[in-house]
């Protein structure tokens, strides 16, 4: 079998015209379909492109928003807004800070109050502090009274002898060299002057050897301890001077004149009180006044004694 013989044979095998037409039609149909498909694909692609563009825009917007958020988070204002409150995060620190503030405030307040109650001292020096107090601690003090006669008591030099009414009593705490002592300052509205520089209507302030109306019991201060605001009496305080009236403990010296002009030399023998229960005075020291029941009787006695002095 030669080539031409073979080709002649195969030449008979051909695509018929109807087949060709059929194929062409199908190809055209497919082409139309493909074109539609391509159009749809193009539309889809365009939509996808638009969607992608929108996504990109959205991403850019998000990125910008995130940047903005980050920027705001970094800014102090945002930090204040977004962070948990300090007292929520650091309760211990807040508690300690509050306690510290409370302690500081307490100490400061105490210091302010103490300073306000402190009595300024002009001449006194050393380790000394005197302040007004409401109550003295419970303790006992004992004095040994030196015996004096009636004349020696009344005719003693330096006494201011007046009749008057107690208008005010303040307790004081004297701290010298770390040692605490308690006294009271009594204000007297002068109604009559038997001896001294004061005048009727003056208010003289005298130191009492004990605090008043506290738990303190001071021996030989019975009369002074009985003093109350509103009581009348005859008072014979000693007039302090700036040089000689001082109280010394160690290197510390207290000049009484810095705080008061007068002072009772003891709590028994330099005052005669008109109390609701009657006249109170140191009966043991004034035998001439035995049986006296009024200030007038005492006043007469004192006037007589002063006249004898002169």
């Amino acid at each position: 079998m030669r080539k031409n013989e073979y080709t002649e044979l195969i030449n008979e095998v051909k695509a018929s015209e109807p087949l060709k037409q059929k194929i062409k039609e199908k190809m055209l149909q497919q082409d139309n379909m493909l074109q539609k498909v391509r159009m749809l694909e193009q539309e889809k692609a365009l939509e996808q492109e638009k969607a992608l563009e929108q996504e990109k825009v959205l991403e850019q917007v998000k990125a910008l928003e995130q940047e903005k958020v980050l920027h705001l988070e970094k800014s102090p204002n945002k930090e204040e807004k977004t962070r948990k409150p300090f007292w929520f995060k650091q309760p211990m620190q807040i508690m300690f800070a509050a306690m510290a503030l409370f302690l500081i405030a307490s100490l400061t307040g105490k210091m302010i109050l103490e300073n306000r109650n402190l009595i300024p001292l002009e001449n006194s020096h050393g380790n000394i502090k005197i302040k007004y107090i409401n109550n003295a601690p419970d303790f006992k003090v004992s004095y040994d009274l030196v015996y004096f006669t009636e004349q020696e008591l009344i005719q003693r030099e330096g006494l201011e002898i007046v009749k008057g009414t107690i208008t005010e009593i303040k307790n004081i705490e004297v701290i010298m060299e770390g040692n605490k002592e308690y006294y009271a300052l009594a204000s007297i509205l002068v109604e009559k002057v038997y001896q001294g520089q004061s005048q009727v209507g003056d208010v003289i302030v005298m130191k009492l050897p004990c605090p008043i109306d506290t738990g303190v019991w001071v021996e030989d201060t019975g009369i002074a301890s009985a003093m109350r605001v509103g009581m009348k009496g005859i008072f014979m305080p000693f007039t302090y001077d700036e040089e000689n009236s001082f109280y010394r403990r160690g290197d510390t010296t207290l000049y009484w004149k810095d705080i008061v002009d007068y002072g009772l030399l003891d709590g028994e023998r330099y005052a005669f009180l008109e109390t609701p229960t009657g006249i109170q005075y140191a009966e043991f020291a004034y035998p001439s006044l035995e049986g006296a029941t009024s200030l007038e009787e005492i006043e007469s006695f004192i006037v007589k004694m002063l006249e004898n002095k002169n």
Partner: protein, 158 residues
């Protein structure tokens, strides 16, 4: 890309006979060959671009042979493998020769057709069939000998 009426007409007129012949060589059935031909052209529509006309032709041959293989793999065709439907215009003598040709293995048939009728070189056939050139040469030699024997025994004398 084929997307105009003129392009469709041209490609069908140029390659339809070739595709039918290859399909007929492989399927021995006119109707199946026509179905394959339609499918090949529809596939061609979906192809984007070819480097040149030679590339297009080689692509059509390869796709046709592959579609024929696919069709032969189908269960129904495997069962009817022995049935031979002769081409209508063939004379009785020609039909007998064709039947002798179909006695050759499929690969031999394709090589003979591509070499003698399409006048492709051994190298080109090897590329289309994705075989080594030596293999194609061997198939061609064997096909010639067998075909000669068959035809001699059949007493065919053109």
């Amino acid at each position: 890309m084929i997307n105009t009426r003129e392009q469709i007409d041209a490609v069908v007129e140029t390659y339809s006979d070739m595709i039918i012949r290859i399909a007929y060589h492989n399927l021995r059935n006119q109707a199946d060959a026509e179905d394959v031909a339609q499918e090949v052209f529809l596939k061609l529509m979906r192809e984007e671009e070819f480097e040149d006309e030679g590339h297009r032709k080689a692509w059509l041959i390869r796709v046709t042979i592959n579609l024929c293989k696919d069709m032969n793999k189908q269960a129904w065709n495997r069962k009817t493998e022995g049935l031979i439907e002769t081409w209508e215009p063939f004379s009785n003598e020609q039909q007998r020769v064709l039947e002798e040709l179909w006695e050759l293995p499929k690969n031999y048939r394709n090589v003979v057709y591509l070499y003698y009728y399409e006048e492709l070189t051994v190298s080109e056939i090897a590329k289309i069939l994705k075989r080594k050139e030596n293999t194609v040469s061997s198939w061609l030699t064997r096909a010639r000998k067998k075909l000669k024997t068959i035809l001699m025994e059949g007493g065919y004398r053109p």
